[in-house]
Symmetry: C2
Subunit: 110 residues, 2 copies
């Protein structure tokens, strides 16, 4: 059944990819730096690999959905991210669509 | 806000891509042909474009998650698809993971 596990892993990656964006946007309603964001997502039961998280943050920033600033914490520079007004609009739209989709899927799956 | 709509559309496509696989596998616990499958998904509130559905069916079949057979219905040949034993194992695993992920996301979003 190794083949099943391999297919399942591929499908899970696909399933999570879109969901992760929504989770990251949602958590960034409050200012976070990379590591604190990763911790929060992990604690909430949505662990996101750092190799996924950091490129995603850069992408969302380049789409102007996030604002960022460097802050000196305990003499370490840390880049903090927070949802922009545009990011907030996207989060609202995406959450609505996710809820609709999830209701449809519950209908189907349960 | 056109830019927001464009970004939102891209993210929704990403969000739906993985979910659609799960929905299609789930519906194919019972034998369906392409059009009846599309109708069922639509009725359940998970509309899937035919340009997405047909390539996906071919992919799932090549992964041996689906069995298929041609049947003559009203003198039209129709290709029926149904979950294979392997597809059933993948569906079970994927549904479990989806439930876990969705619980985590509800935690985050609501």
């Amino acid at each position: 059944m190794d083949d099943v596990d391999e297919i399942l892993n591929g499908l899970m990656t696909e399933l999570k990819r879109g969901a992760i964006v929504l989770c990251v946007l949602s958590v960034l309603k409050e200012k976070q730096y990379g590591y604190s964001l990763a911790q929060l997502l992990y604690d909430k039961g949505v662990p996101v690999d750092q190799n996924t998280l950091y490129p995603l943050l850069r992408r969302l920033e380049s789409q102007k959905l996030l604002d960022s600033e460097w802050v000196l914490d305990d003499s370490r520079p840390r880049k903090y991210y927070e949802l922009s007004a545009k990011g907030m609009a996207v989060l609202r739209g995406l959450t609505d669509e996710w809820e609709k989709m999830t209701r449809g899927m519950l209908n189907l799956l349960i």
